[in-house]
Amino acid sequence: MGEIVCTNVTKVWGVGTAREVAALENVSFSVRHGEFVVVIGPSGCGKSTLLMLLSGLEMPTGGTITYNGKPITGPDADRSLIFQQPSLFPWRSTIDNVAFGLQLRGVPRKERRQQAEKFLRQVGLREFANKHPHELSGGMQQRAAIARALCLGADVLLMDEPFAALDVQTRFHMQSFLLDIWQGSGKTVVFVTHHIDEAVYLADRVVIFTARPGRLLDSVDIDMPRPRNIISPDFERYRALFVDRLRSEVTRAFQEQELAEMLDTRIK
C-alpha cells in the first residue's frame, strides 16, 4: 500500500519572522497506490517543500496529509526521499551505504550486507560494492541512493529532481532504469522535476504547480503506452501543453518578482 492524500495543505517557512515565506497554499491532491506522479512547476513553487512534507521531515502549517489513511507524524522508512544532491555518506563504502537503513534497525552485519548486495545487483553496481562514493559517477551515486531506499523495502519513493545534476545521456539512461525498477513493483513514486520531457516520459500523471506560493494548477493524465517515444506526435502534444501552461506561470512569477523588487527599492 502506498496511498497519499493531501487536504488543504499549507506550508509557511519562518512563521513569525521577517523572512516569512508561503511555500504552499491550500494544496489538495492524492496519489494512488502504485501510481507514478510527476510534479512540475516553475522554480520556487514549493515542489521540494511538498516532498519534505510527504516524507515527514517537515510538518505542514495547515491542512492534513495522510499516508494509507493515517496522518504523517514524522519520517518513516516506508517513504524514502531521494535528494537531488548525491547523499551517500562519503565515509562508507557503497554496500555499507545501501545497508545503512538495515543497520539502523539492528540487522546483523552479514545479513544486511547480503540484502544490500541483492539490491546493488538490481541497480547494476555489484562490482562497486566496496568502492566509496567519490569513486562513483553521479549517476552511479544516485542508483546507489535508490538501492538504499529499496533495501529498506520503501513502498513510496519520493524523488526530488534526482537526475537534475546528471548529463543528458546519463539522465535518459537513469529514467529508463527507474521505470524498469518501478514497473511491476507496485511501488508509488512522487517525482519532482522542472524538466518537461522527463515528466512526460515518466509519469502516469503530471501535476502542475503555480509559482510561489505553490498552488495546484492542473493535473494531467499521460495516456501513452511505455516505453514512450520522445519524438512521437503524442509526446510532442503533451510537451506543447505543458510548455504553454508553464510559460504563463513563469511569466507571472517573473513579473511578481520584478514588482516586488521595484517596491523594495522604492521603500529603501
Partner: protein, 287 residues
C-alpha cells in the same frame, strides 16, 4: 632489443619509480637545506669567528651524546648508566605527557561539544567562559598548573590539556552545527534516531575537521610541555635544555634542541600519516 624489453618490463612499476624519484629529489633538498646551515656553522666555528662555548658546532654536540646521556635520564644526573642511551627516557617523558594530554583534552572537548550541541542550556552556561579561556596560550597556564599539580607529570599534562581543550570544544560545536543537513535528513528518512544520527552521521562527518584542529594545536601543546619542563617540571627534554644552560654545558643544550626539533617533526609526520589513513576518504575526495 634487450634494452627495449627491459624498458617494457619496467612500465608497470613506473608509478612507483616516479614516486621514488620524487622522494629522492625531496630528500636531496632537505639535506641541502640543513647542510648549508650546518656547513656555515661548522666553517665559522673552525675559523674561530664564533664562540664555540656558546655555539658549539654540530659535530661536537652530536659526538658528545654518550657523555651527556647521564643528563637525559628521567631524574637527571642521579642514575647514570654508562653507554646507555638514556636520552630515550627524556624523550619518553615529554612524549608521554603530550600524548596523554592530547588524548584527555580531545575526549573531554568532544564530550563537552556534544553536550553543548544537544543541551542548549548547557551551551549557554558554558560557552561564554570557554570562548574567553580559549585564547589564553597554553604556556600562560604553567604557573597555575605547577601550583595545582606540583612539579610532575600532572602539571605538564594539564598544560597540554588546556592547550587543546578549549579550542577543540569550540571547533566541535561549530562543526556539528555545520554538518550538511542533507546527511542528517538522509539518516532521518532512513529512520535514524537522534542518538543514531549523532553516532553514525555527526561524528564521522566532523572527524576530519577535528583532526585538523588537533594537528594544528599539537605544536602549541608540544611547546607548552617543553615550557613547563623548563620552568618547573624537572624532567623531560625541556628540563634538559635548561640544565645545559645552568651548567654552562651548551653541548647539552644544543643536543636537547636538536632532539626537540626532530621529535616534534616526526610526531607531526606521524599525525599526518594517521590522518591520511583514518580519514583517507576526505583527502581522496579533495584531490
Amino acid at each position: 632489443m634487450s634494452a627495449r624489453a627491459a624498458a617494457a618490463l619496467r612500465v608497470p612499476s613506473r608509478a612507483s619509480s616516479l614516486r621514488f624519484r620524487w622522494f629522492v629529489v625531496e630528500a636531496g633538498w632537505w639535506v641541502l637545506s640543513v647542510g648549508i646551515v650546518i656547513g656555515i656553522w661548522e666553517i665559522t666555528a673552525a675559523l674561530g669567528l664564533i664562540n664555540t662555548i656558546i655555539l658549539p658546532p654540530p659535530h661536537k654536540f652530536v659526538a658528545e651524546i654518550r657523555d651527556q646521556s647521564q643528563f637525559l635520564m628521567p631524574q637527571p644526573g642521579v642514575t647514570a648508566i654508562p653507554l646507555h642511551f638514556a636520552v630515550f627516557t627524556a624523550i619518553g617523558a615529554s612524549l608521554r605527557r603530550v600524548l596523554i594530554g592530547l588524548l584527555l583534552g580531545s575526549l573531554a572537548a568532544v564530550l563537552t561539544g556534544s553536550l553543548a550541541f544537544y543541551l542548549r542550556i548547557f551551551r549557554n552556561l558554558t560557552f561564554p567562559t570557554i570562548t574567553m579561556l580559549a585564547p589564553i596560550a597554553p604556556a600562560a597556564w604553567i604557573p597555575l598548573a605547577i601550583l595545582a599539580f606540583g612539579m610532575g607529570d600532572g602539571a605538564a599534562i594539564f598544560v597540554v590539556f588546556v592547550g587543546i581543550y578549549f579550542t577543540l570544544t569550540l571547533a566541535t560545536l561549530n562543526n556539528m552545527h555545520n554538518v550538511d543537513q542533507l546527511y542528517v535528513n538522509t539518516a532521518r528518512v532512513l529512520g535514524a534516531s537522534r542518538r543514531q544520527i549523532m553516532w553514525h552521521v555527526i561524528f564521522p562527518a566532523i572527524l576530519p575537521n577535528l583532526f585538523v584542529v588537533i594537528r594544528m594545536n599539537f605544536f602549541a601543546a608540544w611547546m607548552g610541555v617543553l615550557a613547563a619542563e623548563m620552568v618547573g617540571v624537572r624532567s623531560g627534554l625541556g628540563a634538559v635544555v635548561v640544565m645545559g644552560r645552568q651548567m654552562m654545558n651548551m653541548n647539552l643544550t644544543f643536543l636537547g634542541m636538536a632532539i626537540i626539533g626532530l621529535v616534534g617533526y616526526l610526531l607531526d609526520v606521524g599525525l599526518g600519516l594517521l590522518q591520511k589513513r583514518m580519514l583517507w576518504w576526505r583527502s581522496a575526495a579533495r584531490v
